[in-house]
Symmetry: C4
Subunit: 277 residues, 4 copies
């Protein structure tokens, strides 16, 4: 029966509970890593033409493999259109398209376009996310502190704008600060403590402002760290605090409690989430 065949295929490709499903996922993981390695290596222009030819063939092999995987996913999903329009569906398609487009657009002038398209193959890496369950815990903590982080980033950008405008006035175009956007680039390089040194203040007031910007940046580095730390500490402590009575919906029962303090109903066992973290 075709139904059973598709169901079995679905379990192998989309799930990872069966030995075959695990083997498929691990194999795909390695294929993705190797294909990214091939794309990265191919960009080194000092390699011999023979090496480039081998890398080109490997690229085709990986493209055909990922095309087969994409078709297989489409075939075995109960709702193909939903998969095709999902984030990973689009990434899977974007990972194979560039190599094919190169055949259709062979003109010399389209080289740069092809280079851009080939780049998209890098996004195959994103497929790794599917295989790393731990990522979800970090993502949860980041999402919980999303609004605070947005406000923080806004503050950094406002600071970069003010510092950049001041520096543009102090140092002027003669010393590398040719425009406010360029001075803002300097401000971000400084506040984030990266410090390339490609543009740096040379006058005394400029160096005083730079010193203030550095200490400011050094101090506010504490803010996002504090936000995420507090969120993760909170997440580690949450399970007992969100323990809820299923009868009267009262919250915050101690982990030791067996009966609800408010209505006397028996409390269910703690979720195993507290042991996982």
């Amino acid at each position: 029966m075709p139904e059973t065949w598709r169901e079995r295929m679905y379990r192998v490709i989309f799930e990872a509970e069966t030995p075959l499903g695990r083997a498929f996922d691990v194999g795909l993981l390695w294929a993705i890593l190797l294909s990214v390695g091939v794309a990265v290596t191919d960009s080194v222009s000092t390699l011999s033409p023979a090496t480039h030819r081998i890398l080109g063939r490997l690229e085709w092999a990986f493209t055909l493999l990922f095309s087969a995987e994409y078709v297989a996913r489409l075939v075995c999903t109960p709702r193909p259109s939903r998969y095709a329009l999902s984030f990973f569906g689009l990434v899977d398609l974007a990972a194979v398209l560039p190599t094919y487009l190169r055949l259709i657009l062979p003109g010399a002038e389209s080289l740069i376009v092809i280079r851009t398209l080939r780049l998209l193959r890098i996004f195959r890496v994103l497929k790794l996310a599917r295989y790393l369950g731990e990522l979800s815990i970090l993502t949860y903590a980041l999402r919980a502190s999303r609004r605070k982080v947005t406000v923080f980033l806004g503050t950094v950008l406002i600071m970069a704008t003010i510092l950049g405008a001041l520096m543009y006035l102090i140092e002027g175009p003669e010393r590398g600060f040719t425009s406010i956007p360029r001075a803002m680039y300097w401000a971000i390089v400084t506040v984030t403590t990266v410090g390339y040194g490609d543009i740096s203040p040379q006058t005394v007031p400029g160096q005083v402002l730079a010193a203030i910007a550095m200490i400011l940046g050094y101090s506010i580095i504490a803010v996002p760290t504090g936000i995420v730390s507090a969120e993760l500490v909170e997440a580690a402590r949450k399970p007992p605090n969100t323990r809820t009575c299923h009868e009267c919906l009262s919250e915050g029962h101690l982990p030791v409690a067996r009966y609800c303090r408010d209505c006397g109903a028996e409390l269910r066992s703690l979720s195993p989430l507290s042991d996982q973290s």
Copy 2:
């Protein structure tokens, strides 16, 4: 009646509960962002004169818009002088003045002055603070740890002074460390891990001192981070600890408790603040 008209205008401009009030705030937010964008872009000297002319007109449009807003705020506030002297009142005024002053002072020699005044327009960005409620949570945490941060910044400055003076002695004016202030600039660049590389030690003792300064800076980066983290963790834990009996004013009741442990009075429900964070 003019009274009712001013009250309605006050609600639209100063508050954000009504749909019209929200729309006004969001519109103003975008106008501020765009006007800052225009000021920043205008500083790029490589743009064509036509572009500069368009940007100059946009600047006038934004200035007239913000002037109208400033007058409207003055008109509808019950106490105009209080608004005019408040922080945001002064910022609102500073955001429109530079463009007008340019008309009064048209001489060629006042170009640099105008540049300085135009810069103040950047402070329009500060008005953003009014629209971001989340900012207050971070501000609270920073204010709570203000004294500790001050002590910490003082320590950093003392360290920069001692390190700069030592480096001035070790490397001397021949290798870029021309004075103690300049050596202090180097020390701040190093301790904050920015590291421009515009001045760097070249002798062996100088590099040893630089290595010590780096490890010191790397280690004390932990201090402000720890302060803010502890403050935010504390803030997240506070609600249950500050739960107060309204009868006997005893504090620190567990979130599960329904009756005061000290006087037996019924405790009111927890503030929703603990869910917001």
Copy 3:
């Protein structure tokens, strides 16, 4: 009576409870800051000889002032030798000695020595520590995590040694890595994320090792931060945990408890320390 006079003087100079004592401390604080400012400014060689002459006189004025203060402290302390040998006693002496030594050693060839001695005046800044009570809280947290920080610093040094030795082998003396100590300097510059760029790897294996060193440094930056954060969070939580019954010495009573759970004795009120932090 001379006794009472010395006692009053002691209270003004060493304590800060009386209005006069506070005024003395604040005045001294400003004198220290100004004298450091004079020493720092004096090192700028581009200033006019007239300015240098004024700065030299101000230096003498401050030296005489601090000498008078030093003698006053010696006079009014019950045990002068104990003060003279304490840390601040030695710092107070070191802050005035250099200017006097300049009179005894006037030769032209001793210029560099004088420069070194003048530097010690910078240590006057350290006297600030006496006036900042908050410093003790941070110092406590740092001392509590001292052993962990030592282990961490040791790890950083071992890592710098291994990375430096590997880099010395990979890049070699031709590309700036002239010796293992110099390569260790590079490793510290990199691991602490300072990144001057005065020495940087140019071969592919060298850049791979540098990338590993950066990510390592970036990751272990979390360790001291985590240590200090945990220590400060712990310090903020400690008061309720260390609440002790004065009868049976049982610990860890909840902040709400009025009677000891183990022996029924009344618990004393919480220390006000929990409100200070």
Copy 4:
């Protein structure tokens, strides 16, 4: 009896409870540090030949000392093969081998090989780990957060790949970004906030991407810090939370509780671990 002699030797060499055992460990610690110092100093080519000769002899002295120690360890262990194949057994062997191999391979062409082998002597430093008990606490916290850190490092690498590929397209080989691997090196230098400045973007889109990369790196620095902080805070809080009833094995008893809330059995005293941290 040889048995007793080996047992006594075992206690001196492998344990640190007896005064002699402590003295042995401290002496060995200094020998390791000095031998590393000799190896590091020996790499400085500007030293006189006489100094190099003395350093060479010291190297031989340390090699013989560590050889004797290695043999002693092999002799007194009940199971020599287990020690020889353990991590520290291999490190102990690797620390002495290079100097001997230099005798067997005296050819001029093997100079580079010898240099590599001599480097291994640096690993003697790793033996320090045995003497620092505190290291285990940090190691525990790092191991507990290992999976989260792995996911985080994976994210950093994926980000470096995508940023590097984009930068390679934007800036191109003409401005230093000669290949994707080199652009990835730039991305890691930037995201980790090291910022050498040996390669830096020069076009406007490149600088915009660099600014995004910096703020990204600046923000995600919070993640590993948050992970380790949460883990250490958790470790500090764990003792009361893992307090277990020895009768019914229920967990999470409050530190004040004397009897199990679930079965009424008397709870044993808290472990002293909470005071150690």
